[in-house]
């Protein structure tokens, strides 16, 4: 049986095609604003790589923040439901999944069967997602990849005062003006985001094994900071950005076309109170 999954996120689309539990093809694309059209294209291109057509696919399930825009999908499941299936497929020992994408940070407690037991998410604030790191890399005038690499060389711990990504950019610029080394600023950025992601993780408990997925899992600087913050060695899959799509395909294989998942929504506290 051939099934497929697509993860249509804030910025990127990932597709996985499975045949009897074996990955036939993978595809990815940057979606931009025209998500529906981009999804169609990347789906067809991925099928083409496997020498397939849409009619060869038994079932197709979509996930991701824009999952509903994939008109060709037979069903849509929430990210968390896809994440746990994808992770469970690769790492049955996983009990916690941390998924940090461009626009949200999630922590999920996962059952040995690959089902969601508990789920917390920060999706309202860029400070808790990959966008924060991208914005700081822009302020540093280096790529996210370079930022990840140089931050590993830093031995200093400088606190970042700004929580907000907008204020963080100004802070990074002012640190550059103060001649603070870029590697130390890069580490400060990763420490800050790791701290916020860890606090989302603590809501569901950080039972081992902990698997980190999503675009940010590729960032070694972030993984290093997170490991130190939570004092637990984490597992990073080879292709962390494809886990959602893989999970959607796994759901398609088992005939799961929709699923409800309840989440604890985490909001950054922004208000200070005071009396005269």
């Amino acid at each position: 049986m051939i099934v497929a999954g697509i993860d249509l996120g804030g910025k990127n689309a990932h597709v996985v095609v499975l045949k009897d539990d074996e990955i036939l093809a993978k595809g990815e694309a940057t979606t931009g604003i025209q998500k529906a059209a981009a999804a169609e294209t990347v789906y067809d291109e991925t099928l083409k790589k496997a020498g397939l057509e849409r009619t060869d696919v038994e079932r197709m399930v979509a996930t991701g923040s824009a999952g509903k825009r994939a008109a060709f999908a037979d069903g849509v499941i929430p990210d968390a439901a896809a994440d746990v299936r994808g992770v469970n497929r690769l790492f049955p020992s996983a009990r916690t999944v941390i998924d940090v994408g461009a626009e949200e940070g999630r922590a999920i407690k996962v059952s040995p069967e690959g089902r969601v037991l508990d789920f917390a998410i920060n999706e309202k604030c860029a400070a808790g997602a990959g966008t924060f790191v991208e914005a700081m890399a822009r302020a540093l005038e280096i790529s996210v990849e370079e930022m990840a690499t140089i931050s590993l060389k830093s031995t200093k711990s400088i606190p970042m005062n700004a929580q907000c990504a907008v204020f963080g950019e100004s802070e990074v610029v002012s640190l550059i003006h103060q001649k603070v080394a870029k590697q130390d600023i890069a580490k400060a950025v990763h420490d800050a985001i790791a701290g916020r992601i860890a606090s989302v993780g603590r809501i569901v408990g950080l039972e081992q094994d902990v698997v980190v997925i999503g675009g940010m899992a590729n960032n070694k600087g972030f993984i290093d900071a997170l490991t130190k913050e939570i004092q637990i060695d984490v597992i990073v899959p080879a292709d962390p950005a494809f886990i959602g799509a893989l999970g959607a395909a796994v759901a398609a294989a088992s005939g799961v076309l929709d699923e409800k998942v309840e989440a604890t929504v985490v909001e950054q506290e922004t208000v200070t109170e005071g009396e005269a």
């Binding site: 604030c125 929580q163 907008v166 200070t272 009396e275 005269a276």
Partner: protein, 308 residues
């Protein structure tokens, strides 16, 4: 944000003013307040408790420089010099970097005090809309702070959030208010609170071909909503006033009034004899600091440092 960009849509007009009805030489006590904010800096000079002059400028990279510039602007065309000032108080985010100040007072206390002078003793809630924070302050009839709530961690609902939006949509900040009403029908507000996410949302709306003024209205509404959440947590009481830069943006102010079902006080001087003077909502903090300085020296709680 790149310095020296050709189009700087956030660049609001700076201002300076001197009271034509006061001769400082006849004054006995001359005090100053300098408010160095994250985005703007103001210097205010008070002669015997009356507003004498002010300067309002953009904060640069160097806080002491911005403090000097704002006070130099306030002294402006007058022949009053720094060494003739009895006492100076620094306030605002950069208050520790005001070289000419003898002491500092928090901007929360100063805004309440300044608003009391500007809008009168009936003021009970002051919403200070700063460049990088917003503060809801409850105060008594003397302008003394009772309690406050402050958001200084998130750009949503701050002047900076509006500047980011102005730059994105390429409309000067002072045109945002008027243009937000050039619409056929009030659109749904921008749903993202986070300024970064709101930017993506706005780009999406622009690409969908939503009229620019509708997007401006949607952003003003979102900002008003954000401010309202803070005010509702604190409790808002009339007379209700807004100080700071966003007070000049009617697109936000009118929508906030509608959501709160409370009118903001008119931006006119409480004292009838001040009627002809310009009213600048951004000077409240520096004015409050100068008034504190005046009261402290007059009551003997601070020593005059006047040299000439």
């Amino acid at each position: 944000m790149s310095e020296g960009a050709t189009n700087e849509y956030w660049r609001w007009p700076e201002s300076t003013w001197t009271n034509p009805d006061i001769d400082w030489k006849k004054g006995t006590l001359i005090t100053a307040g300098v408010d160095v904010g994250s985005v703007s800096s103001q210097g205010v000079v008070v002669v015997d408790g009356e507003l004498y002059s002010f300067g309002n400028t953009r904060t640069g990279y160097d806080s002491p420089d911005s403090a000097r510039k704002s006070l130099t602007m306030a002294l402006g065309k007058t022949d009053l010099t720094l060494d003739r000032i009895d006492y100076c108080i620094g306030t605002g985010y950069g208050r520790v970097n005001v070289p000419m100040a003898q002491r500092t007072i928090t901007e929360i206390a100063c805004h309440a005090r300044g608003a009391n002078f500007m809008y009168g003793p009936e003021v009970r809630t002051v919403m200070d809309m700063g460049g990088q924070d917003c503060k809801a302050i409850n105060c008594d009839e003397k302008g003394k702070v009772l309690n406050f709530m402050m958001n200084d961690k998130c750009a949503a609902g701050t002047g900076r959030g509006m500047e980011v939006f102005a730059d994105l949509i390429e409309v000067p900040v002072w045109e945002i208010g008027p243009r937000s009403f050039q619409i056929e029908k009030e659109p749904p507000m921008i749903s993202s609170t986070c300024v970064v996410f709101a930017k993506s949302e706005v780009v999406g709306l622009l690409e969908e071909g939503v009229p620019e003024n509708d997007i401006i209205a949607a952003y003003c509404a979102a900002m008003a909503h954000r401010i309202m959440e803070l005010l509702n947590r604190l409790g808002v009481h009339e007379k209700f006033v807004i100080t700071g830069g966003i007070a000049k943006n009617e697109g936000v102010v009118k929508r906030l009034e509608k959501e709160l079902r409370i009118k903001t006080a008119e931006t006119v001087w409480y004292r009838p004899e001040y009627k002809a003077y310009p009213f600048d909502t951004q000077i409240a903090g520096a004015l409050g600091a100068a008034l504190f300085a005046e009261a402290m020296v007059r009551k003997g709680k601070a020593q005059s440092v006047r040299k000439a």
